[in-house]
């Protein structure tokens, strides 16, 4: 059976899968062009820049001259990506020569950006109107808090300290795939749900945002509008206040949902109201590979399989409970032990040993993060051993045929199965 896995797919893949009409419309917005350009592979960025002021189509042959023999595969990837995103259009003329031309809207928008420099999508509000603006630290704390509250609510609605404004139908959409609910039973995390919890914040955010966008049509919102607003939001400056009056109706509704995720903070003045983008929002357009939002770790694992987590967060406690036995909880410390039983529990739920180990490594307390290895070797080895214990028997779905009328038919059937790479076992001894 194919394993169901949550892959933190790139946002841009989603943009690329939009219908051509909508994609062309998106490029009317200069910020989208900028975000798309930044998401491209390095070589593709280079080509766009190089062709920005060339109006006539360029033949594929002359482009191949630009690359060294070593780079031809990268060249292919870059060109494919550009065509996929409709930044380049490919035409084959009568003499079978392929030419590429850059999307004219995309081109003019980028040309403008080059000559005028970067501009902000919105003017920040002057500081004499906005009062009580939160400091950067406060804003970070707010964003993380909001996000964790959301996650906690996502995995177990009863645990959340304060209910967020996300409608229960919305929540159901997010929970789809992460939780499974049987009749009259408390919802249980699915395999992908566990994997989701162990991902880093950026990847989790992308997953949620993707669900949010793919669900937008049911709410009567155009996904292209949503994508363009989210990308635009990522170009705002963290910690500055922006007037809510500049938003459209749809955007104002979206902002409310984003507040619950911790992407923005809403504040109300005497007359005006404004929103303040947090680090989570401005990191959106940074591609997934950049882990610029690395947070401080909190877990210490000792060689005796004991685990100390310096955290006050309920969510952390829940996550640790997935694969360890939490023994006691102090105001700022969670003490647990990694045991065979707790791990078997985790494996049963579909978490792999590698996921647990990478979670422990990524969230290592700064004191142990300097050490190599961050997680003691005997612990990682034992976790892997316990996992392989469970995999001693491998199951493969199969069909069993017997009572062949003749030896020839038996051999022909075996050969056929072998050809299809489907022969698991044969017994040719005559009975």
């Amino acid at each position: 059976m194919p394993e169901v896995k949550i892959i933190a797919k790139n946002f841009m893949d989603m943009v690329a899968s939009l219908p051509a009409m909508k994609l062309d419309k998106l490029y009317d917005n200069a910020f989208i062009c900028e975000a798309i350009l930044r998401s491209l592979p390095p070589l593709a960025k280079k080509y766009v820049l190089q062709m920005l002021y060339i109006d006539s189509p360029i033949t594929a042959k002359s482009m191949e001259v630009w690359v060294l023999p070593d780079g031809s595969s990268k060249h292919r990837v870059a060109i494919d990506r550009l065509i996929q995103l409709r930044v380049f259009s490919e035409t084959v003329d009568r003499r079978k020569e392929t030419t590429y031309k850059i999307n004219p809207t995309f081109q003019t928008n980028l040309q403008k950006l080059l000559t005028h420099g970067e501009v902000l999508p919105r003017e920040p509000m002057p500081s004499n109107i906005t009062v009580r603006l939160p400091s950067m630290e406060d804003l970070d704390v707010y964003a993380i808090g909001q996000w964790e509250c959301f996650l906690l609510q996502l995995i177990s609605s009863a645990q959340a300290e304060r209910p967020s404004n996300i409608s229960s139908s919305m929540m159901k959409v997010f929970q789809r795939g992460l939780l499974s609910q049987r009749d009259k039973e408390a919802p249980r995390l699915t395999e992908s749900g566990f994997q989701f919890l162990l991902m880093d914040t950026n990847a989790q955010l992308w997953y949620i945002i993707r669900e949010y966008i793919s669900n937008s049509e049911e709410r009567g919102v155009d996904p292209a509008d949503l994508i363009s607003f989210l990308l635009e939001l990522s170009f705002h400056v963290t910690g500055e206040a922006y007037n809510s009056n500049t938003l459209t109706e749809v955007q104002r509704n979206t902002i409310k949902d984003l507040t619950d995720l911790g992407l923005v903070k809403l504040q109300q003045g005497r007359k005006e109201s404004w929103f303040i983008p947090t680090k989570l929002a401005t990191n959106l357009s940074v591609s997934l590979t950049d882990s610029s939002s690395r947070k401080q770790g909190f877990v210490v694992v000792e060689t005796n399989f004991r685990l100390y987590a310096y955290s006050t967060s309920k969510l952390h406690c829940e996550i640790l409970r997935l694969f360890s036995r939490v023994e006691y909880q102090l105001p700022n410390l969670i003490v647990g032990a990694i045991t065979k039983e707790s791990l078997y529990n985790a494996f049963e739920n579909g978490i792999t040993a590698d996921q647990i180990i990478s979670f422990l490594q990524q969230n290592a307390h700064p004191r142990v993060a300097e050490r190599i290895p961050t997680v003691p070797e005997n612990v990682t080895d034992q976790i892997r051993l316990w996992e392989s214990d469970l995999n001693r028997v491998e199951m493969t779905p199969a069909h069993y045929y017997d009572e062949f009328p003749s030896r020839e038919i038996f051999e022909a059937a075996c050969d056929h199965a072998r050809e299809w790479n489907g022969l698991l076992w044969e017994d040719s001894k005559p009975r």
Partner: protein
């Protein structure tokens, strides 16, 4: 998934230090007006910032008496439109550049140096400033972009800076910082050719100055990661001539101290750098074979 605690940024993140030649002696004779040149360069700087949001740019002006930082994208305030219509990069850079040029001119009057020595710009100074900046970035932490230096130079080489420039080049080579050079003057620059050759950068002399932006964006905007896959201009020939230490003249052939490798255009009794005493030249009619073979008599 990234698991190691120390990780460099993604491959194509770059820190670009641009050295701009502001030598008035060159720009008064150049076919390309300085204002046009600036607009090409500003577009180029914009394009670098556009490619990646963590790309960083530092601009250093090279005058004929001094050099100074005129723009640093990591220090610049929010890219809002503050005064008038010019975006922050342009307005900030142009203002600093103007201040710099006036200061440089005043220095020129104060020193009242003979006009022959001032026709070259202080490349050694700006190169060292760029390297100092890069060293500071290296030491700032484990997460830093790949640095490279781009010299946009127009004025001719100043042979008197030979030693200082060579030292900068070697320290750039040691810290693996490529020096790209875009030479827009009339002849080739031996210093820049050597700098790019030694550090593995690209040297190019644009044929059509009107299309300077296209040269800059095609050749010099290439990040270090992509250079492994792209066909970039190769150096046709490098002028390896050195300047002598005694009269700062560029020479094809000369005398070299075998102890400290200092170069002289004439035979000396004693090395002016390390103090080694040389023996008598075997014949005063300098033949090519024994010119370089001088042994100290200690």
């Amino acid at each position: 998934m990234p698991s190691a605690p120390t990780k460099l940024y993604a491959d194509d993140v770059s820190l670009l230090v641009v050295l701009l030649d502001t030598n008035p002696f060159f720009w008064s004779t150049s076919s390309l007006p300085f204002s046009k040149f600036l607009s090409h360069v500003l577009s180029f700087l914009n394009s670098i910032l556009l490619l990646n949001q963590i790309n960083q740019i530092v601009v250093i002006a090279t005058g004929c008496n001094s050099c100074d930082y005129i723009y640093d994208s990591s220090l610049s305030t929010n890219p809002g439109i503050e005064n008038g219509k010019l975006p922050a990069l342009c307005s900030e850079l142009l203002k600093k550049l103007e201040d710099f040029v006036t200061r440089d001119e005043q220095l020129n009057k104060q020193h009242s140096l003979p006009p022959t020595t001032t026709s070259s710009s202080l490349l050694s100074g700006s190169l060292s400033m760029a390297l100092c900046y890069i060293q500071r970035v290296f030491r700032s932490g484990p997460l830093h972009p790949h640095p490279r230096i781009l010299c946009v130079q127009g004025s001719s080489d100043g042979p008197e800076q030979y030693v200082a420039i060579m030292n900068s080049i070697f320290s750039a080579q040691r810290s693996m910082v490529p020096i790209d050079s875009c030479y827009i003057g009339s002849n080739n620059s031996a210093f820049l050719q050597q700098a790019s050759y030694i550090t593995g950068g690209v040297y190019q002399k644009p044929q059509q100055l009107d299309g300077l932006f296209q040269y800059l964006s095609t050749v010099f905007a290439t990040d270090l990661h992509s250079r492994a896959f792209l066909q970039l201009p190769k150096s046709v020939g490098v002028d390896f001539r050195a300047s002598c230490f005694c009269h700062k003249k560029t020479i094809d052939m000369g005398y070299i101290c075998s102890v400290c490798l200092s170069i002289f255009c004439k035979h000396h009794k004693k090395c002016s750098t390390c103090g080694s005493v040389f023996g008598q030249a075997q014949s005063d009619v300098a033949s090519a074979s024994n010119l370089k073979r001088k042994t100290p008599e200690t």
